[in-house]
Symmetry: C2
Subunit: 328 residues, 2 copies
């Protein structure tokens, strides 16, 4: 079980690259650079390759690793994508269509490489080394600009028939509800993503007087974020508290749906939301208990992620190990 | 691959018992009796045991089977239940709590027996010998008095952490929606079960004039059923047609949710709804295409069940084979 794996977490804003020991107990050399997608796919691949090389050099210099100790590179990318061919089918954030990301990174670095969905990677990372450790059947919610997710069945990522499985942010929870970025109405993402939380707060402020939320964003409601809402709620602001309670309800519906359908032993909520603490997790667990079947509620730990922004990198390394039959 | 398996489908109204050859290609001796749950658990077990014995006798008389050719009995029961101990935890329809159904049937018949959820059995039956044959990752919706379901992962029933997995009728699709029999609000079952379809039709008639639905139920709206609605829609009744379109929309939401979350290669809709034909399946597929991700839509066949009322018996036999490692 010796050796290192390099993980790449490619996002619309930043690229994070780091390394994990094959047994997952050691992590090293986390580096983050701006994606600058507007410069084109070749430039983005160039940055990924440069960061992978820099991480490999760090491993050799700082951890005594030989070149042969580096088993390969796991890449997490926005999807949809095709794991078998290593091709990113389409990513609106990056502007790519049918881009052979895996093979381009492999050619540029000289390492074996695998590709998987970024939310799947975060799910696997939290299961391998984070809040969902020890789980057998795991549902991960990744909460940020969007709401993504991943399913783990018997300790392995479940990809479904065409690598789409785990898109739990696009479960309809209000049949005629809010418009979602995917074009559908009433998706969980349309209520519980960061921008959706901010939008609901802006709407709530329209009908109210005083709220520290106005000060938090310097009077510019367009600049209001979910982080402002969580912070104002923690200060006792009633408008923000109402939004957090409502968010907990919507997330509770999403979690309850997954409990009834999938009956996991761990549900992990990863992303910035993990910082919201009991103000969110308390009412969320109450909503789940109201909606899901008792034996499913009893079986499931509902926990925040513990890896923070590193989940995607750690999980990208883990998905390399699983895809190559090397562990994790 | 020789031998026979006996399947038992225990319902609140009827008990069906039949046999399937180990390779699934032959079915024999289907028998149905009334459950008469009010007579108590001992009486119900007595009826199951008598029917299993009668089916075994039929196999010996009509199919040349020796006693030793009968591998065992698979039992499908309303849940929740615990497969490992063979105990039915609670069934409101039968009035049972923590009842050791598997061992009682085994003791009464002298056959090895297994227990599983009735909707899981119907799902496995449709996969083994019905509309979902050839699927690898399958979602089954069982539509009747309730809305149940089952998940098949890599050709095996997926039970989750505590045998609850597949309760897709209790996915919330309207967060503040119609009250469901489970106590929750807005479950798919509260819109798409037979009684829910009839209730929505009664409500629609309240605001309208003429409809053949009034004649169908002899003027007694309390006697209106989902079957009346499907039949009146087929005759061109506009109120009934609106209810069928609305049902297709709600079922479409449920199917789309499962496509995005689970990405199956087959979705099978079993139960009386299978007879509704294109009037239901056409708009249902349209709704799914509007709501689910394109690669998930492309990967999934959406089909009616083909086994009808026999799905539960056939699947109960199949779950015996899977639980005992004998095939299916």
């Amino acid at each position: 079980m010796s050796g290192w794996v390099i993980g790449v977490d490619l996002g619309g804003t930043t690229i994070s690259v780091g390394a994990a020991s094959r047994d997952g107990t050691r992590r090293a050399a986390l580096r983050t650079v701006a994606t600058k997608a507007a410069e084109g796919a070749d430039a983005v691949v160039g940055r990924i390759v440069a960061e992978v090389r820099a991480v490999a050099a760090d491993l050799e210099a700082g951890h005594g690793a030989a070149r042969g100790d580096i088993l390969g590179v796991g890449i997490g990318s926005p999807g949809p994508l095709d794991r078998a061919s290593g091709v990113v089918i389409v990513t609106p954030n990056l502007g790519w269509t049918n881009f052979p990301l895996r093979d381009r990174v492999a050619a540029g670095t000289g390492f074996d490489a695998t590709l998987d969905n970024d939310a799947n990677c975060a799910a696997l990372g939290e299961w391998w080394q984070g809040g969902a450790r020890g789980g057998r059947h795991v549902v991960a919610f990744t909460l940020g600009t969007g709401v993504g997710g991943g399913l783990i069945v018997n300790g392995r990522l479940f990809h479904g028939a065409s690598d789409v499985a785990g898109e739990i942010g696009h479960m309809t929870i209000e049949t005629g509800g809010r418009r979602c970025g995917c074009g559908n109405h009433g998706c969980l993402e349309a209520y519980a993503s960061g921008p959706a939380i901010a939008a609901r707060a802006r709407e709530a402020l329209g009908g109210h007087g005083a709220s520290v939320l106005r000060d938090r964003c310097g009077g510019d409601l367009a600049a209001l974020t979910a982080a402002h809402v969580y912070a104002a709620a923690a200060e006792g602001d009633p408008v923000a508290q109402a939004i957090v309670r409502e968010t907990a309800m919507y997330l509770g519906v999403g979690v309850a749906n997954m409990l009834n359908v999938f009956n996991p032993d761990v549900v992990v909520l990863a992303g910035g939301v993990a910082q919201a603490g009991d103000a969110l997790f308390g009412p969320l667990r109450d909503e789940v208990a109201r909606r899901a079947f008792a034996p499913a509620v009893a079986a499931a730990r509902i926990v925040p992620g513990t890896l923070g922004a590193e989940a995607g990198v750690v999980g990208a390394a883990a998905t390399f190990l699983q895809q190559r039959g090397l562990g994790a």
